[in-house]
């Protein structure tokens, strides 16, 4: 290779990468606008008065910002507020229970799939994915009938059970990937160092799989928190509704209370955002780095 081509090649390479980097930035900017603009509009509308929200051309910036909608929603004395807080609590309960159960079931399941060989391992592993081949609506009526037979219609148990079956396959797959990446020698070392198999799992493997468990938990929580169609079908009693179903009551009055709807939507997104802000560092922390030499 001649000297000229050696010195030119990297420079040409860098220029090309720069072009891609700028294209990437523009793309990211568009994506941010695409995702953030509706959120911004939601927030702006939620602090308008009912009249201001309906004006055309729209008020881009609220002329008389008010927190009245939030006050109404968060006031347990107000009938709207009492309902909203109950729905909020119901959603929180269902989602939290789903998350806890999903982690409790998925962790040992994923570990078993990752570490042990047993008859039917491969078949079972792909069987858990089978559910994901079908859209949720297909299971709506069969599951409703099943829940009626089990006497679970109009209970939160029906939702927790359903969300669990839908969420587990991906949770198990996700976690299995994490366990696959944890070298088996770490457990072997722990067992030689005096730990039982279970202690090796608990003391060595579990702490390393925390990012995976958190990712799984967030996934389960958000799926349950946002779910609409099953909640709408299984629950009909007002005091049991979850937020996605409950919020639509803002539509059902004579006029739609847009600021109220937007305020409710905003409050509904708060737990998810908080969850992400608190736990995001676990996503990026590569804990296994330095564990073994590759």
């Amino acid at each position: 290779m001649s000297t000229t081509s050696e010195t030119l090649a990297p420079r040409r390479g860098r220029r090309r990468i720069d072009g891609w980097r700028w294209a990437g930035r523009v793309f990211l900017l568009l994506m941010i606008i695409y995702t953030a603009a509706p959120m911004a509009w939601m927030l702006l509308t939620s602090i308008k008065s009912g009249f201001a929200a309906m004006q055309f051309p729209p008020q881009w910036w609220p002329e008389e910002p008010t927190l009245a909608s939030y006050a109404k929603l968060l006031d347990p004395q107000n009938s709207v507020g009492a309902d909203f807080l109950r729905f909020f609590w119901n959603s929180l309960f269902v989602s939290t229970m789903t998350t806890i159960l999903a982690v409790v079931v998925a962790v040992p399941a994923a570990y078993a799939f990752s570490r042990f060989s047993f008859p039917g391992r491969k078949f079972l592993f792909f069987a858990v994915l089978l559910r994901n081949m079908f859209p949720a609506v297909i299971f709506l009526v069969p599951l409703f009938i099943l829940m009626r037979v089990l006497g679970l219609v109009n209970t939160h148990g029906s939702l927790i059970l359903t969300y669990l079956t839908f969420g587990l396959p991906l949770a198990i797959w996700l976690l299995k990937g994490f366990y696959d990446n944890i070298p088996v020698q770490l457990e072997q070392a722990a067992r030689i160092d005096g730990a039982t198999r279970f202690q090796a799992f608990l003391l060595i493997v579990m702490p390393l799989s925390v990012p995976g468990i958190i990712a799984t938990a967030i996934y389960s929580f958000i799926a349950a928190w946002n779910e609409y169609i099953y909640a709408y079908t299984f629950l009909s009693k007002n005091d049991q509704l979850t937020l996605p179903v409950g919020i639509q009551r803002f539509f059902s009055e004579n006029t739609t209370d847009f600021p109220g709807l937007m305020a409710a939507s905003f409050l509904m997104s708060v737990p998810v955002v908080v969850l992400f802000l608190v736990l995001q560092r676990y996503f990026v922390r590569a804990l296994t780095e330095g564990a073994v030499k590759h």
Binding site: L186, Q188, D193, P207, G290, V292
Partner: protein, 365 residues
């Protein structure tokens, strides 16, 4: 410390015999290397001793106990892994403390032992670091420290040096040897590198295809390999092996090549050849036992130079002899060039003769 006995040890996976009726004894305080090419069953054997996989049949004794059904934690062993297997979320201190915590020692005892081990391995300044903040050599040393901190009956080491770069490997090799001498520890050391086995071990167990081929002191394995596999595996460059045909009988036998030349054998070597199962004999010779002549000499046989590899003080010559490649070492002052004809003289007292059918070394009665 304790001795280790493997008695007719077998491990099968389905119909595949990973470890095939291996029996050997590791004496108290002995450094034994299990050596062989990949897939020879050496790591499986080590894992059987560690208790990480169950034995199919046979017995493993550590000290005077049969440990076949004991958990790894109850075998009183320590192990160093090829990838070190340091707990990534724990500091070096906690890595070293973990085996002691598992044995429910008091905080003061743990602290004393951890600091002792750190001092021995010269890594007191690293105690608060995480494994990922250490270099390969330092990680290796922590792995060694975690094994030594507990004072186990046996140390098991699974290719502990193969992830290090060449220079560090040589340095750690002498450190492990030193470690063995100072502690008088019983060590079973798995490696695919025969040089590590030869330089470090008191005895080496050469394995191939799940079978134990030869178990002896490195010098003995080097001098008297029991079969062609061991002969070609131990030593660098490998022993040259040339398949030939035996002719004559009694004390006047010779080896004949299809190329037309004949190598007369000494009386002792002739008696060895007489014991072979057929006329097919494989001649083996190490590079240093062959003399190179640049012109025809009585008793020397002709060969053609293939490559010449100068290494500084000695030069390795590879030559074609009867269709096989033969390694010869010569002083750097000897100059030969590729395709040149040379004449090779074999030292009758130091050649090896193998049965061409069974591949076993031929011995004089």
């Amino acid at each position: 410390m304790a001795h280790v006995v493997l008695k007719d040890l077998v491990k099968t996976y389905g119909s595949f015999h990973a470890v095939n009726h291996v029996s050997l004894t590791v004496n108290d305080g002995e450094f034994v290397a299990l050596v062989g090419p990949s897939g020879c069953g050496k790591t499986t054997t080590l894992n059987l001793v560690a208790g990480l996989i169950p034995v199919t049949s046979g017995d493993i004794m550590i000290g005077d106990r049969i440990v076949n059904d004991l958990d790894p934690k109850d075998r009183d062993i320590a192990m160093v892994f090829q990838n070190y297997a340091l707990y990534p979320q724990k500091s070096v201190y906690k890595n070293l403390a973990f085996p002691l915590q598992m044995r429910k020692l008091t905080k003061e005892e743990i602290d004393r032992k951890v600091r002792d081990a750190a001092r021995v391995l010269d890594m007191t300044h690293l105690l608060e670091r995480k494994p990922r903040e250490l270099s390969g050599g330092q990680q290796q040393r922590v792995a060694l420290g975690r094994a030594l901190v507990r004072d186990p009956a046996v140390f098991l080491m699974d290719e502990p040096l193969s992830n290090l770069d060449a220079k560090l490997r040589v340095q750690m090799r002498s450190e492990i040897k030193r470690f063995h001498q100072d502690l008088n520890a019983t060590i079973i050391y798995v490696t695919h590198d025969q040089l590590e086995a030869v330089t470090m071990a008191d005895r080496m167990a050469v394995m191939n295809g799940g079978f134990l081929q030869q178990y002896d002191a490195p010098a003995e394995v080097f001098a008297n390999p029991v079969n062609m596999f061991v002969a070609s595996f131990v030593g660098s460059p490998a022993m040259s092996l040339v398949p030939l045909e035996a002719s004559g009988s009694g004390d006047t036998a010779a080896l004949t090549s299809a190329e037309g030349w004949t190598l007369p054998l000494s009386a002792e070597n002739a008696r060895k050849v007489a014991r072979a199962t057929s006329r097919k004999i494989v001649l083996g010779a190490r590079h240093s036992t062959i003399r190179l002549h640049k012109s025809a000499e009585p008793g020397a046989i002709p060969a053609k130079v293939y490559t010449v590899e100068p290494t500084g003080d000695i030069t390795f010559v590879q030559a074609f002899l009867s269709g096989s490649i033969v390694n010869i070492s010569v002083p750097a002052s000897v100059h030969v060039s590729p395709d040149e004809m040379i004449w090779l003289e074999f030292d009758q007292a130091r050649i090896h003769l193998f049965d061409g059918e069974t591949e076993m070394a031929l011995k004089a009665a």
